[in-house]
C-alpha cells in the first residue's frame, strides 16, 4: 500500500530534512509541534498518541476503565469470556517472593513497529500517521494472523452477529478488533473513554497525550519518572507505557 510507512525511507528523509534545515538557517527547524487538528486535516506524524499507566495508582478490583470501554464501543458479551470481545483487560501480577500484587489495565500497546501490521495479508491492520494502530474492518478478512502475532493478546475476533452498534464504533461478525485509543474522541480533541473514567473515579492512573510534544503532561511525566514498556525486549517501541512494574 502506497501510504504505508517505510522505515528506512523515512530515516533517510528525516536526515535529509535536518541537512536541509541546517542550510536554511542553523538552529531553525522547519517543523512544528502538534496543535489541535482542524477537522478537515489528515492526522500527521508530528503527533504520536500515547498513554502512561501508573500501576501504583491503579486500584485492585476496579474495572472502571474496562466498563467505560465496553460502554463506549457497545461491547456486549455472550458469557463466553474466552471468545468475547475485549479491548482492555485488567491483569493482576503477583511477585511470588514478596507477595506484592500489581494491578494494571492491558490493551493494544500501539507499537511503533506493530507485528500485527507486518503479518496482515490485506493491509487491514494498519497504523495511522499519529501512531494509533487500527483494524480497517472494511478490508479485514478475519484470518486472525494479527491476533497470533500480537505479543499482548490485545485483539479479539467477533464471532457473533452484532446489532445495535454505536455510531462511532462500527463492529461486525468476521472481523478482528482491538483498542482504537478512541480515535473518534481523539480526532475531536477528546481523550479515550478509559482515561476519562479513571480520572472521574479519582484514581488518575492513566495519562493520555502526545509523546512527540515535550510539553505535554505525558512527556513531562515520562521525563521525570520514566515508563516501562511491556516486553521491551521485542523493541516495538510501544505507545502505552507503565510505571511501577
Amino acid at each position: 500500500m502506497s501510504d504505508q510507512i517505510n522505515d528506512s525511507r523515512r530515516n533517510f528523509l528525516s536526515k535529509a530534512a535536518v541537512a536541509g534545515s541546517i542550510t536554511i538557517a542553523p538552529g531553525v527547524f522547519l517543523h512544528q509541534t502538534a496543535q489541535a487538528k482542524p477537522d478537515e486535516q489528515a492526522v500527521s506524524n508530528s503527533t504520536r498518541w500515547g498513554m502512561l499507566i501508573d500501576t501504583d495508582k491503579c486500584a485492585k478490583g476496579c474495572t472502571g476503565c474496562v466498563d467505560a470501554c465496553n460502554n463506549e464501543h457497545a461491547l456486549t458479551g455472550f458469557d463466553r469470556p474466552e471468545s468475547d470481545a475485549q479491548y482492555i483487560r485488567k491483569v493482576s501480577l503477583v511477585e511470588k517472593q514478596t507477595g506484592h500484587e500489581i494491578s494494571l489495565p492491558l490493551m493494544c500497546q500501539h507499537c511503533e513497529k506493530p507485528p500485527c501490521v507486518d503479518v496482515c495479508p490485506t493491509g487491514a491492520s494498519m497504523k495511522r500517521e499519529d501512531g494509533i494502530v487500527l483494524v480497517d474492518k472494511h478490508i479485514c478478512i478475519g484470518c486472525r494472523y494479527c491476533m497470533m502475532a500480537c505479543p499482548y493478546k490485545a485483539r479479539s475476533f467477533v464471532h457473533e452477529k452484532i446489532e445495535d452498534q454505536t455510531l462511532s464504533a462500527p463492529r461486525g461478525k468476521g472481523t478482528v478488533e482491538s483498542c482504537t485509543m478512541c480515535t473518534h474522541r481523539v480526532d475531536k480533541d477528546g481523550i479515550p473513554a478509559c482515561v476519562e473514567a479513571c480520572t472521574e473515579d479519582d484514581h488518575n492512573a492513566m495519562t493520555f497525550g502526545d509523546l512527540n510534544d515535550p510539553d505535554s503532561a505525558i512527556s513531562q511525566e515520562l521525563k521525570k519518572h520514566g515508563g516501562k514498556q511491556i516486553r521491551a525486549d521485542l523493541q516495538l517501541n510501544t505507545g502505552v507505557r507503565y510505571r511501577g512494574l
Binding site: 489528515a42 476496579c62 474492518k137 461478525k173
Partner: protein
Amino acid sequence: MTKRFLQLSLILTGLIMLFPLQGMAETPFPTIHEPEGAGVKCVVEDEDVMRRNHMDYIQHQRDKTMREGIRAESDGSYSLSKCIDCHVEANDQGVVPTHNDKEHFCVACHEYAAVQIDCFQCHADRPQKFIKRAAKDMGGE
C-alpha cells in the same frame, strides 16, 4: 417433411408460451421513505445524483475517516450516519425498521435492484436515538 413441421411447431408453441410471462415479471417500484418535510433537498446532493453515486461518495469518505482521521462534518462531506439519521424513522405503527426489514430506507431500493448491502454488518442501521442498549457489565479481571 413431417419432422421439419414438428420442429417448427415446437418452436412456435415455445415462443407463444414466452409472451404472457413478460407482463408478469415486473417488480413493483419500492416505496422510499421521504424524510420529514418531503421535498427538502438532501443536505449533500440532489436525489438523482445520490441514487446513482452514493456508494462511491461513502466509500471515499470511509477511507479518509478510517485512515486519515478526517471526521469533518461540514457541508459537502458524506456520511452514512447522516443518511441514516434523516431517512430512517419510525413507521406509522411506531416501529423503526432495521436492515432486516424491507421497508428500511436502504433495503427497499437494494432489494429492488438486487444489490447486497454489507454496510450494516458493522454499522448501525438506525439513528442512535432509536437504539436501546442494555448496559451489560462484562467484568474485568
